[in-house]
Amino acid sequence: MEYVVETKKLTKKFGIEYAVADLDLKIPKGEIYGFLGPNGAGKTTTIRLLLGLMRQNTGTIKIFNKDLNSTRLEILKKVGSLVENPSYYGHLTARENLETLRKIHGAPKQRIDDVLDIVRLSDVGNKKVKGFSLGMKQRLGIAASLLNNPELLILDEPTNGLDPSGIIEIRNLIKRLPSEYGMTVLISSHLLSEIDQIATSVGVISKGKMIFQDSIEEMRMLSQQKISLKLDDNEKAWRFLSSKGVKVEPENDCLALVEQSDQEIAHVIRMLVENNFSIYRVEEEKRSLEDTFLQMTMEEKAV
């Protein structure tokens, strides 16, 4: 597998606290890598290290198969980034903000209009950024990160502060990048649902440690959802379904379905209705991020 980013035992301490510990991050080319972890897990610190904004205590970073410390400039020419809260110059307009970066990248002027259009800020391009909402600043940050047509795009919690429609827009945009422009994307988030909807590859970080790293499919297997049924007579329904070969488990005042493909659920419900059971509730229980983390950490220890 060809990795665009590969770190080995990356470690960063603040005082005696480890913000990032022995992190082996691997981002395959052309993937959208979801970097998932609760607040304070070390996502932003890792990203700062990847961009050379901070120096690690120990460990190595390779981007495009080159060492970051010795080839930083060459690497950064092909990287676009948005780190933590959006960066901007309040006294400049959106267009002028991008111009300060364009001058350094040496990108054509047309590119400013292009990226403003991509994030739908063309209308307010000539307004001072000082007066922008958080969501607009966030879009400007994304526009800035796209300015040099990067091969690797690093976005740290890019949907923070966006309204729901903005989130969907940005999500759709990010999804297009690998296929249309051949970009590899690193996107961090503290929301499982966010990563679930966008990433093709996932790394989960907790307390500075990577506790899971694999494809999104593997991740979904781990955080399976559960369908629970509530009926007039759970006991009887359980016996009935078991006799029909459906795997169910009694749980408090309901029944939990293990199989959960759409057809299977439809089949079970039809059987229940046809046999005159009254169905009060059919619920999908999503396991919370914490539960998933907990499970992952426990599995990690068991290995």
């Binding site: 960066s87 110059y89 002028e96 300060t100 350094i104």
Partner: protein
């Protein structure tokens, strides 16, 4: 490097920099206008007399204060909303960013000195000075004042990069500028005090044959030495700064 300078200048140009550049020269202008040349000793050249009066306030107070304000401004918009992290994640080295900012700062100070010279010329023409224009004396003072800000500006740039708050670096600068009036009279400390150097070098002291109004060895050791010390310290600080 050129593209970086262009970008820096672009950011600066769009802030309210012009007004700040004019503060010092305008103060000089006002003092010059109200200087009564008839009060000066008869044998003194009118231009020299006026410039000496102007220097007293300008070089002692306003120049060091304004170089501090400028240093603060070219860092303020980087501090305010994550500018540093965006700038330093671009394909630029920190060394170049530091040099670009310093270069721009020195260019602005040079512009101030030129405006100040223009103020003097304006006063002279308005008042109809009849004495010959002492071109050598004047350029020594103007350019000497600029050279004297080399160390001070490095120190101020370093401070402005360190303090996230513009008000903090400005206050520190005020605190160190005010005692200059006393320190400049001290034989022992005057020459070494960075805030006093612009005044010392703009001070018009008769007919020394040195290039500026201070002896060469003083210029090289004190001004040159402190410039290197502050510049290197600021440079190293910026290299290591976590953003």
């Amino acid at each position: 490097m050129v593209s970086l300078l262009r970008s820096e200048w672009y950011k600066l140009r769009k802030s309210k920099i012009v007004y700040i550049l004019l503060v010092g020269p305008v103060v000089g202008l006002i003092i010059g206008i109200f200087t009564n040349i008839d009060m000066l000793p008869l044998e003194m050249n009118q231009w020299v007399g006026t410039l000496m009066m102007m220097n007293l306030t300008y070089a002692l107070l306003f120049l060091p204060l304004i170089t501090g304000v400028l240093a603060g401004m070219i860092c303020k918009y980087e501090h305010d909303a994550g500018g540093w992290k965006q700038l330093l994640a671009l394909p630029v080295t920190r060394g170049k960013v530091f040099v670009a900012k310093y270069f721009l700062l020195m260019l602005l100070i040079l512009a101030i000195q030129v405006f100040y010279l223009v103020s003097l010329l304006g006063i002279g023409f308005a008042k109809g000075f009849t004495d010959t224009f002492p071109i050598e004396v004047v350029w020594k003072s103007i350019l000497g004042g600029w050279v004297a800000t080399l160390p001070l500006a490095s120190l101020q740039l370093w401070m402005s990069m360190m303090f996230k708050s513009f008000a903090a670096s400005f206050s520190v600068n005020v605190i160190f500028t005010l005692p200059t009036i006393v320190i400049v009279n001290s034989e022992r400390f005057g020459p070494y005090y960075p805030w006093a150097q612009p005044f010392s070098m703009m001070y018009l002291s008769g007919d020394t044959n040195d290039i500026f109004f201070v002896p060469w060895d003083h210029l090289l050791t004190v001004v040159g030495g402190s410039f290197i010390a502050f510049f290197v310290a600021g440079f190293i600080y910026f290299q290591r700064k976590a953003v």
